[in-house]
Symmetry: C2
Amino acid sequence: MRERSIPEATVGRLPVYLRALVEMAEQGTTTISSETLAEAAGVNSAKVRKDLSHLGSYGTRGVGYDVAYLIHQVRRELGLTQDWPVLIVGIGNLGHALANYRGFAERGFRVVALLDSDPAKVGEDVGGLTVRRLDELGGVVRENEVAIGVIATPATAAQDVADRMVEAGINSILNFAPAVISVPPDVSVRKVDLSIELQILAFYEQRKAALQAVKRGRAADLAQV
Amino acid sequence: MRERSIPEATVGRLPVYLRALVEMAEQGTTTISSETLAEAAGVNSAKVRKDLSHLGSYGTRGVGYDVAYLIHQVRRELGLTQDWPVLIVGIGNLGHALANYRGFAERGFRVVALLDSDPAKVGEDVGGLTVRRLDELGGVVRENEVAIGVIATPATAAQDVADRMVEAGINSILNFAPAVISVPPDVSVRKVDLSIELQILAFYEQRKAALQAVKRGRAADLAQV
DNA sequence: CAGTGTGAACCTTTTCACAGCA
DNA sequence: TGCTGTGAAAAGGTTCACACTG
């Protein structure tokens, strides 16, 4: 295929494939079939083949994909051949965790600054960086060419922080605050909401419990007959 | 409509509507139109109406939805009228943050236990709970009727922890570890992967940069003519 | 007459199934 | 022969547009 614009759903899975591929490479695997990769990524093989076909024809029929080459191609496609300076606003519990998260650096996301509006937190040392004042945001973005901002503030502060980020020229935001933020159409926002995930699980959990009850009910009915 | 099985996409948005509705109620709003709710939730009004129609006909034509009543219905549908005991395994940076996250308790998710396999962490006090040994998991689940487990361990430990959770009878798992875990088909898993979110942002960020370059290229071409 | 509820059209994503190639 | 790459079919989700009603 190799046509412009990879489907959103595919973009969301490429990082998962990438992780699986890197693991394979570390274990010394040099070639992988869509079936094996699918298993490692928790999807089915048709999906893997369709997804990878959007990057180009990098497989060999009858054999599979060359792991190292595919890693390179996926990295290139995702834009991970370059370093991405990231800043984090809101150094509470979550901000701390994010600042110390080693998984970011491993994938080329370099945390260059931590900001907080609370004077009590400014100056604190977290994960090798000193927490700065929120109004230094513009300067930090300019100095480090930050393109990605992470919001880890309480919900009430999220929109203000987002506005400041946009103002400073950031146009990709990862929002952990439990709030909907509005930004200009050319700015990408992704949202991670911890309690929403639990609520979704609760829904399915409840439904399972209800199903069990129905089953038990039927069993009882049958026993009565 | 009010037919069995609400679409997955709708289930994912109900918590967002719920949050917006609760905010509205706190501000004293008693009635809301799909248009207003849509704006607060960051979606369009047709989607809101379709989504809500899956719960039943709770709106009034020409008027809108009764906020309090709709909150009740959404809560009921999501299974939030009951308390959900939750346990967290892996009390590193992220586990700490999750243990202290107030948003869980506010929505009826009660953290009843924190577990870690590292003896150095066992006994530590985090957010009012004492960290326990991982092998106490079975007992904790039984005592508290835990139905939802949160994995906040490193990737290498995730599958083992998931196995223990399943073994103990948990059948809803929220996985923060950057690893694919496999569980029986009747167990629900949701995954939150911090670095995957950044990778997705990087992809779109890169594409935006490429587009800018093309535009600049065209501008240069035009200037040449 | 303002705003819901919903068929119908449309678009995206997934799955199927197999031709074609190393 | 085994596995990729991909049209075609199916499923799922979104948007449109309007009949209907309080």
